[in-house]
């Protein structure tokens, strides 16, 4: 679902980050270390630019120190560092030329889609080249008989649906940044969204890619047919955070739009009961397209901000089902019958498109509403649904310990939590405390059988927590995969793996 509020808030967040730039820089050094730039690479800038200009037009090569600032951060705006050079190729061949040059000269490359990553996936280093795919945004082929669309990877998520909706189709993965985020980034992070309970995440909707390897070789994987004939390299590339290759084209599964959709809002006086209700609905055989959960701090914040008329209760569920009117009635009747067994304090059904929009309004305003209260950090840990009440309780305990408020708004059907930790970027030490609390919450998610990140990716944000989820041997096995695709470790090298674990490989 499109979420303008969230997009607007992201912009505001960028602005705040910019205003407090000096402090953010200082904190970056302190908290999330990045490798020291390689002086010999920095010294090669003029030569590198000259070589780029041999294969790219002038307007595609950005090397002025003021202009490269536009690429100094992504959605994780507390961390920023202008790249040495940014390039904006307009064809797969140009991407190949750029990578070949960087490969020959040993220059690290950070691929970038739209720069909306919340985990620092597109954060540059001072000695890197940002390879932006934003100008690769054409639709190459739509095939309704075979139900796929082939696009260049810089195309935004929402405009993929835009290209097929007149014919009654849509592209299912719907991250909240879908107005801005690029398919390239969706593939790199294996992005999800609110509706993946039914339709799956990016990897379940990706049929093929054209990818450029770090040495400039172009490779096609998958296509209009289903499943791999050999090893599932497509499945490996999706979610590899731009570390294995640069995807320039993607074949995406498109689906016929359902006849209609309708949400229902349920309020409960305890998180436990709301969690049990979710579990019972799923067990009963109804499979809603979305089950969204908000806790009291978020309900109050969004009510104050968007005034959607939500009840003031402990936990709120928005459940959406799809189909014809009759099918929707049938599914909602079952859901309501289950919900009533859990004594909800509020049941709000929708009788019109306006009422449906109003039910979604508060949820869609939630991030922006929390941002009005203070700066926040959005986490992305995922837990087994059965652990929901326990984890929410423990987050409350940790929140009190650290003295920082935490609101919870998330995709309950699949256990993908989004705790929002409020902090004050102007208050010395607050961001540091916030990151420590965030790390504790993510460790809690892992301890109950979950994971560090459900849809945002590891990037730099969760990089140094990977040891909480994986053994050294597990990480070594993953790094060995990168060795195959990028033996010199030039592609987005300082991400995903703890810096000490990847140090030897990165130093060549």
């Amino acid at each position: 679902m499109l979420d303008e509020q969230e997009a607007k808030h992201a912009l505001r967040f960028l602005v705040i980050g910019y205003i407090f730039l000096p402090k953010a820089t200082e904190l970056r050094e302190f908290i999330m270390k990045m490798p020291v730039p390689n002086p010999s690479i920095l010294a090669s800038k003029a030569q590198l630019v000259a070589r780029f200009l041999e294969v790219l037009p002038e307007e595609s090569v950005i090397y002025d120190e003021v202009e490269t600032r536009a690429y100094e951060c992504d959605g994780l705006a507390a961390y920023r560092c202008p790249p040495m050079v940014a390039v904006l190729p307009t064809s797969t061949q140009q991407v190949s030329d750029v990578l070949r040059i960087c490969h020959e000269m040993g220059v690290p490359v950070v691929p970038r889609g739209a720069g909306t990553s919340l985990s620092g996936g597109a954060l540059p280093t001072a000695d890197c080249v940002i390879l932006g795919v934003a100008r690769l945004n054409d639709v190459l082929e739509t095939d309704y008989d075979n139900r796929y669309i082939r696009v260049q990877s810089g195309r935004t998520n929402l405009s993929v649906t835009g290209a097929v909706e007149e014919n009654g189709f849509f592209y299912a993965p719907d991250p909240s940044s879908q107005l801005a985020c690029a398919i390239a980034g969706n593939i790199a992070m294996n992005s999800g969204g609110a509706h993946c309970l039914k339709y799956g995440v990016t990897t379940n909707n990706l049929m093929g890619v054209r990818m450029v390897m770090m040495d400039g070789e172009i490779v096609d994987i998958g296509g209009g047919h289903l499943d791999a004939g050999g090893l599932d390299l497509l499945g490996l590339i999706c979610g590899s955070e731009g570390q294995l290759g640069v995807v320039t084209e993607a074949t995406l599964r498109i689906l016929p739009k359902p006849e209609g959709a309708r949400p229902v809002l349920l309020g409960f006086d305890s998180n436990e009961v709301a969690g049990a209700c979710v579990s019972d609905i799923i067990k009963a055989g109804v499979l809603p397209v979305a089950i969204e959960f908000m806790d009291r701090p978020v309900i109050r914040a969004s009510e104050a901000h968007a005034n959607a008329g939500y009840p003031d209760c402990e936990a709120l569920l928005i459940i959406e089902v799809e189909g014809s009117d009759g099918e929707i009635d049938e599914q909602l009747a079952m859901i309501l019958e289950i919900a009533r067994r859990h004594n909800p304090v509020e049941i709000r059904e929708s009788r019109s498109a306006e009422e449906s929009a109003r039910i979604w309004l508060g949820r869609k305003s939630a991030f922006g509403a929390m941002g009005r209260i203070n700066d926040y950090m959005c986490l992305d840990g995922t837990i087994p649904v059965s652990q929901l009440p326990y984890v929410l309780k423990q987050i409350g305990v940790l929140s009190t310990q650290y003295g920082l408020d935490v609101g919870n708004v998330f995709h309950a059907g699949d256990g993908n939590m989004h705790p929002l930790i409020l902090y004050d970027a102007n208050k010395p030490g607050d961001l540091e405390a916030c990151e420590k609390l965030g790390a504790d919450i993510l460790r809690l998610c892992v301890d109950v059988g979950g994971c560090l990140t459900g849809e945002h990716g590891v990037g730099i944000e969760k990089r140094d927590l990977m040891g909480a989820q994986f053994t050294n041997a597990d990480l070594e096995c993953q790094m060995a995969v990168k060795d195959v695709f990028d033996p010199a470790w030039l592609l987005n090298p300082a991400k995903v793996f703890p810096l000490d674990a990847s140090a030897e490989r990165r130093s060549g």
Partner: protein, 378 residues
């Protein structure tokens, strides 16, 4: 060798001095018996966790599929990717295991709507060629923590590691089902009808076509599943939508439908007959043309035309007949000589093949696992 624990499995691999032939229940007959010393995973059996409310099950790789199916059925759930039971087609005995299903990414008719086996894989524990116990993924539905080796291991036919445990997403069994049937369509019309149905909002969960053979009329099948009222509604809508393709009927007895689709899933139309069996994945709209070029004895189309099961005369090099096409042809059943000359797996472009071989060397540096399968490895 038949390890009873993951630890034993790791020790056996670490102590192996020669090639290992990895099998689950052996029902797909993927690895010839002379490939190496047999390492059988059926001792790694049992369900260690099942949370119906979280739609998650975790089981040892050697757990019989029947045990998983029965456990899920008690809670009204199932494995939605509908794995093919290869026993009738391959003429094998034994017990299909969940590890074997995942290792071969075995997915039935519902693949077009709900996904393949690999799409329901949440996590894996496995032993690599050094005898190390490794894990990837987990047991939650959304997980992007690190590289997705779960997908890589799914469908790797035991060439990267020996799986010890898998965790899977499951779904509720639909309340009922119905099949809309159109008779007498040629392959091209049938694929067009299936494309129309799959492109409609009526949530078709199976689209298969059995061409006319030995006196039986051609039969195009479209499956709808869900709650009773909804199934009846959508079946009616589909019939209207497909009016232009001729008369249709609806089989609304759930038991009959289940049998129909089990036959499609297990390729019953080609079972028990001589010849080679091929499984070809193509773009659905290319299906009829590919079907013609095959010059096969029998054909069944699944996945709306995108999956072709073909029975050919022994030793026919159908890849040569097909020429270039988007997709791949796997030789599923043949005698050992044919496997040697034609290769089971479709040849891949050089660069892909090199990547695959290098990955294999990283996971299995001593070349222990199923050597010779999925491209040559020395």
């Amino acid at each position: 060798m038949k390890p009873e624990t993951e630890q034993q499995l790791a020790e056996m691999v670490a102590g192996a001095t020669g090639p290992l032939r990895i099998i689950g229940g052996g029902t797909q007959r993927v690895t010839p018996s002379d490939m190496g010393e047999t390492l059988e995973t059926s001792g790694l059996s049992g369900i260690s966790l099942y949370e119906p409310g979280a739609l998650t099950i975790v089981a040892g790789a050697g757990t019989p599929l029947s045990v998983i199916d029965a456990t899920l059925a008690e809670e009204g759930q199932y494995l939605p990717f509908e794995p093919t039971d290869y026993r009738a087609l391959m003429g094998t005995q034994g017990t299909p295991t969940i590890g074997g299903v995942i290792a071969a990414n075995v997915s039935g008719p519902r693949r077009i709507q709900t996904g393949a086996a690999r799409d329901f894989m949440l996590g894996v524990r496995f032993v690599d060629g050094r005898g190390q116990i490794l894990k990837n993924g987990g047991r939650v539905m959304k997980n992007v923590t690190g590289y997705d080796l779960v997908k890589l291991l799914s469908g790797s036919f035991g060439t990267l590691g020996v799986m010890s445990e898998v965790s899977l997403k499951v779904l509720p069994v639909p309340q009922t089902q119905a099949t809309v049937i159109i008779e007498g369509l040629d392959d091209k019309q049938a694929v067009a009808a299936m494309a129309r149905a799959l492109g409609s909002p009526y949530d078709v969960s199976g689209a298969a076509h059995i061409p006319a053979a030995s006196g039986n009329a051609a039969c195009t099948l479209l499956r709808i599943e869900g709650f009773e009222g909804s199934v009846a509604y959508r079946a009616g809508k589909l019939q209207t939508l497909l009016n232009g393709f001729g008369a249709s009927s609806v089989e609304s007895d759930a038991g009959n439908c289940a049998r129909q689709w089990r036959d499609i899933r297990d390729v019953a139309a080609l079972a028990g007959k001589d010849g080679d069996i091929w499984r070809i994945s193509v773009r659905p709209s290319d299906g009829p043309e590919i079907g013609t070029r095959l010059q096969a004895e029998d054909i069944v189309y699944d996945w709306g035309g995108g999956l072709i099961w073909a029975r050919t005369l022994e030793g026919s090099d159908i890849r040569a007949r097909l020429g270039g096409f988007q997709g791949h042809a796997t030789l599923v059943r043949a005698n050992p000589d044919t496997y040697r000359t034609l290769a089971r797996f479709h040849p891949e472009p050089d660069l892909i093949s090199q990547i695959s071989q290098k990955l294999r060397q990283k996971f299995d540096p001593h070349g222990l696992f199923n050597p010779g399968l999925m491209g040559a490895i020395s």
